[in-house]
Every structure is written in structure tokens, then in C-alpha cells.
Amino acid sequence: MVPITLYLSLAAILFCVGLYGVLTRRHLVIVLASVELMLNAVNINLVAFSSIGPYADITGQVFTLFIISVAAAEVAVGLAILIALYRNRESIDVIKHDLLRW
């Protein structure tokens, strides 16, 4: 059986990749996708704990389902705002949006 640490490491790597994407990518859609990546890292964690963790039970998978659906809602709102932004500013490049500062 695959030890749980491998799943956890995968999740950790995915979390960091997502974080890196949020911090560096200039395309806002990719930034939002990176946020999803971070949430999916959490999902992997939960599912791994739920099936082969020290106290395996079904709750983790329930939690995962909740996260998936809520994350979908979140990204839908994010994309809606993104469209509004694009209509106002004609750009979805992250670094061009610095009207609000200092």
C-alpha cells in the first residue's frame, strides 16, 4: 500500500504550485485556476486521510464534496467579477490593475 506521506507530499507540492501561480502569473484566469489548485491540494489531503489516515472515516470525503461545490461557486463569482473588470478596463493582466493603492 502507498504510504500516506506520499499523498500528503503530493498535496503539499500542489499547494505550493498553486500558491506560486497566484503570486506570479499575470493572467487573472490562471491566477483563479491556481487558487483552485490550492483547494484541490486540500481535497487530496482530506481524501487521503479519510481512506488511509490514522482515523479513517467518511467525514473527510464529505468535507471534500463541500469544498468542491463551494469552490465552484467561488470561482464562478470570481469569473463574473473578472468579466466586469475586463469590460471596464479592457485587460485582465494582474499588474495593470493598480488604481487603488497607497
Binding site: 498535496a11 499547494f15 498553486g18 500558491l19 497566484v22 487573472l28 491566477v31 483563479l32 487558487v35 490550492m38 483547494l39 491540494a41 486540500v42 489531503n45 482530506l46 487521503a48 486521510f49 489516515g53 490514522p54 482515523y55 479513517a56 472515516d57 467525514t59 473527510g60 464529505v62 468535507f63 463541500f66 469544498i67 463551494v70 461557486a73 467561488e74 470561482v75 463569482v77 470570481g78 463574473a80 467579477i81 473578472l82 466586469a84 473588470l85 469590460r87 471596464n88 478596463r89 490593475h97 488604481l99 487603488l100 493603492r101 497607497w102
Partner: protein, 484 residues
């Protein structure tokens, strides 16, 4: 206890509010997309107040299958939040009156959904419930922040809020996933029973999950270094939404920090307490210093309130760091929350009135307010001085109580930092007061007539600020004896 024979009546207020929110949502559809709909605002206020009454009636202790908990703590915070949202809606009614490009019905129903999310958060005894409540509040807030969809600042603020808020959620969840993995349960109550032994076995992972959750919640309550979004989003959002974020969102966040930290992470006999008390004390220090110092340089009233809100969050962290007796600390925080809600919302009511009148949100729109509307100028000064902590306002009593509780817990240096930074805060609040009293009005600004909703809000907030400042015993004697 199975979910079938649980006492679902404990959830009555939430269910009622959810239904009413949907009703308002539906009525909005039925009355056409555009146009002014003040009746929806009034209905929303009534819905919130009805819910608050229901919360009070339902105040008995009880839980639903260890995932939803009703106790004094949640009842108190729910009432604070519901009253806060009701006031925000009263402010919004004036704002929406002035802004025809905003879809009115959706605005109100989103506010109600956000309030529902906040209520769920406060009552949650389970990480999943907590997350659902948190996201219900957050997603509604994202929409509200970007509500002026043709306004460049509003949409920019909203996108920043979404991206950073989503990241913060990911952090919270990542922390939660480890707690779940080590315990096999998501119930806060069950976790709290095993956390002490868990800590002995896996100190690293427990501390890490605490810190990840702290980072995520820290984002919601905007403490340094997780505060960066606050000024931009506050400035970009419609002013009532700014009020909403700085009050409802923040207080709900504090409620959940209290719940998680005081229930779960205290551990039996406070084993874990030493682990995070210093961290929170340091965060509180940095928050108070940074918030107040940056506020000194601000020229925009909404940004100023954002940084002042950051600083206020720092004050509220002090009793969390310096626990004398947990129940006592909760009393301190609840009192300050009440005071903070009224002072801040009173100030925002006037800010909305003034900035909507002049169309600008820098300090100069406050020039000569005393000449244009003496009552509003005096009330605004009381709110600002209250936030700074001048005696005879409720803000002083709240701060003094925090101060004393920190001293009793032996964290005198923290109390000292708090006092020194609140001296700094006088400086920037005075900047606004000076504008109102010591400058002449702009040439084309005439006498400012406040609509009824704003006047009522300001009067209530003023009354609370002064009454609790002069006779704090009314509230404190009562709060201090409740076992939270």
C-alpha cells in the same frame, strides 16, 4: 445523536432568515430589474430584526449533532451581527437612493445571505459548518464589493478580494485538513478533547495547523500581515459595503477565532495556550503599530477607516492573547465588539452621507461640515473620538477594560503598546475633526440635509456610544457574569 432526532428548532432563526432572504430575492424579480425599491430595504431590516428576536427567544443552550451549537456566546454575537447588518442596510437605503446604476433587490438579498453566513459561522461547532458559513459570507461579500460593476475601482477591489480571499480560504482548509487527519473528526468539540494528547505526539503538525488557520482567519479580520487587501477593497467598494466589511465581516471573524481558539486550541488546562499566546501578542503589537502608523498618512476617508479598522482589530486581539480567565476575555471582546459596531457604523453613516453628497471620498469633502450640518459634525467627532478612546465615550470604557484585562493577565507591555498606539490614533482622527470644524465649507456645498434613515442610525449610534460611555455598568455588569 443522529441527525434525525436532533432538535432542529435550534436553527429556527437561520431558517427564517434564509426564507426571508429568498422571499426578498423573489419579490425583487417580480418588481422588474431596475428602479428604486426602498420597500425591499425596509423589508430586509424587518427580516433582520425579526431574526434577532428569534435568536433571543431561542437562546437556550443546545446542539444539533455536535455540528451546530447554540449558547450564550453565539446568541450574543448573532444579535450583534444582525443589528449591525440592519444598520448597514439602513445606510445602504440612502446610498442606493443616490446610485441608480445599482440593482437594488440583489443588493439587499446578498446582504441577508451574508448575514446568514455570519450566523452559521458563529454557531458552528464543526469545521465543515464553519467553512460553509465562512464561504457564504465571503462569496456574498465578493459580490457586494464589486457591486458597482461599471466602476473601475469597485471591480478592481472585488477581484483583489476574490483572489486573496480564495487563497485565505485555501490556507484555512489546509490547516483544517491536518486537524481532521490527526483526529478523524471535524467536530470542534471532539477535537478539543484529544488536542492535548495530540500535541504531545505531533507538536509540529498541530502548531502548523494552528498557524495556517490563524493566517486564514487573520485575513478575514484583517490583521497585519494579512491586512493588505483591506484598504484597497474598502476604498473600491460602495460605502455601505465598506461598513459591512469593516463591521460584520470582522466581528464574525473574531467570533470564529474565539470559538476555535478558546474551544479547541486552549487544550485541557491550557497546554496549548503557551504555544500561541505569544504569537498572537506579537501579531497584535505589529497590527496596532502598523495600522495606526499607516493611517497617519492617509488622505482618503475610506482608506483611513480601513487602517483604523486594522488597528481596532489589533486592540481586539489583545484580550485573546492575554487570557486571564477565558470567559472573562470573551466578555471583554464582546463589549468592545458592541461598542465598535456602533461607533464604526455611526461613522460610516455620516461618511456615506458626506461622500455621496460631494462625490469624492477624500478628507476635503468633510470641510466645514460643522457649518453645513452641526449635528452630523458633532456626532462624527464623538464617533471618531470614541474610536480613539476618549473618556466618556464607550470606546474609552472598552479600551480601558481591554487594558485592565491585559494587565491582570500580566501582559502589561502589550497594554502599553495598545495605549501608545491609541495616542497616535488621536492624531489622524483629529485630522478629520479639524476638517469639519476648522475649515470653511467648499464654495458650492450648501446645507446638508440628512435623510431619515441616516439620522436614525446616527442618533442610535450616538446614544449607545455616549450611554455606554457614561454608564457602562448597564452592559458590563451583565456581560461579566455570563459563563460563556
Amino acid at each position: 445523536m443522529s441527525a434525525y432526532n436532533a432538535n432542529w428548532s435550534l436553527m429556527t432563526p437561520e431558517i427564517v432568515l434564509g426564507i426571508l432572504a429568498l422571499v426578498i430575492f423573489t419579490i425583487d424579480f417580480m418588481t422588474g430589474v431596475k428602479g428604486k425599491k426602498p420597500f425591499l430595504g425596509r423589508m430586509s431590516i424587518i427580516a433582520l430584526l425579526v431574526t434577532a428576536v428569534l435568536v433571543y427567544i431561542n437562546r437556550g443552550a443546545g446542539t444539533i449533532a455536535d455540528i451546530f451549537i447554540v449558547d450564550h456566546f453565539s446568541t450574543m454575537f448573532k444579535i450583534i451581527l444582525l443589528v449591525g447588518v440592519a444598520i448597514v442596510i439602513a445606510i445602504s437605503m440612502h446610498y442606493l437612493d443616490k446610485n441608480d446604476d445599482v440593482y437594488q433587490g440583489e443588493f439587499y438579498s446578498l446582504m441577508l445571505f451574508a448575514a446568514l453566513g455570519a450566523m452559521l459561522m458563529v454557531s458552528s461547532a464543526d469545521l465543515i459548518t464553519l467553512y460553509i458559513g465562512l464561504e457564504l459570507l465571503s462569496i456574498s461579500s465578493y459580490c457586494l464589493a464589486g457591486f458597482k460593476k461599471h466602476n473601475r475601482k469597485s471591480t478592481e477591489g472585488a477581484i483583489k478580494y476574490v483572489v486573496l480571499g480564495g487563497t485565505a480560504s485555501a490556507f484555512i482548509l489546509y490547516g483544517m485538513s491536518f486537524l481532521y487527519g490527526l483526529t478523524g473528526t471535524t467536530s470542534i468539540i471532539d477535537i478539543s478533547q484529544v488536542i492535548s494528547s495530540l500535541y504531545v505526539d505531533y507538536p509540529f503538525i498541530v502548531v502548523m495547523s494552528i498557524l495556517f488557520m490563524l493566517a486564514g482567519f487573520g485575513f478575514k479580520i484583517s490583521i497585519v500581515p494579512f491586512h493588505m487587501w483591506a484598504p484597497d477593497v474598502y476604498e473600491g467598494s460602495p460605502t455601505p459595503v465598506t461598513a459591512f466589511l469593516s463591521v460584520v465581516s470582522k466581528i464574525a471573524g473574531f467570533a470564529i477565532v474565539l470559538r476555535v481558539f478558546f474551544t479547541t486550541f486552549l487544550g485541557s488546562e491550557g497546554v496549548l495556550y503557551d504555544e500561541w499566546t505569544w504569537i498572537i501578542a506579537i501579531i497584535a503589537t505589529v497590527t496596532m503599530i502598523v495600522g495606526n502608523l499607516i493611517a497617519l498618512t492617509q488622505k482618503n476617508i475610506k482608506r483611513l477607516m480601513a487602517y483604523s479598522g486594522v488597528a481596532q482589530a489589533g486592540y481586539l486581539l489583545v484580550p485573546i492573547a492575554a487570557i486571564f480567565i477565558p470567559s472573562y476575555s470573551i466578555g471583554v471582546i464582546i463589549f468592545y465588539s458592541i461598542v465598535y459596531v456602533f461607533m464604526t457604523l455611526g461613522a460610516f453613516a455620516i461618511i456615506t452621507l458626506v461622500t455621496e453628497d460631494s462625490g469624492r471620498d477624500d478628507f476635503s469633502s468633510f470641510s466645514g461640515l460643522y457649518k453645513r450640518s452641526p449635528y452630523m459634525a458633532i456626532a462624527m467627532s464623538v464617533f471618531l473620538l470614541g474610536l480613539a478612546g476618549l473618556p466618556l465615550t464607550a470606546g474609552f470604557v472598552g479600551k480601558a477594560w481591554i487594558f485592565i484585562s491585559a494587565a491582570q493577565a500580566g501582559m502589561l507591555w502589550l497594554a502599553g503598546v495598545m495605549f501608545v498606539t491609541s495616542v497616535i490614533s488621536f492624531y489622524y482622527y483629529f485630522g478629520v475633526i479639524k476638517q469639519m470644524f476648522m475649515n470653511e465649507p467648499n464654495p458650492n456645498d450648501v446645507e446638508l440635509k440628512a435623510p431619515l434613515s441616516i439620522s436614525v442610525v446616527v442618533t442610535i449610534a450616538l446614544a449607545v456610544t455616549i450611554i455606554l460611555g457614561v454608564l457602562p455598568g448597564l452592559m458590563i455588569d451583565w456581560i461579566a457574569y455570563i459563563q460563556w
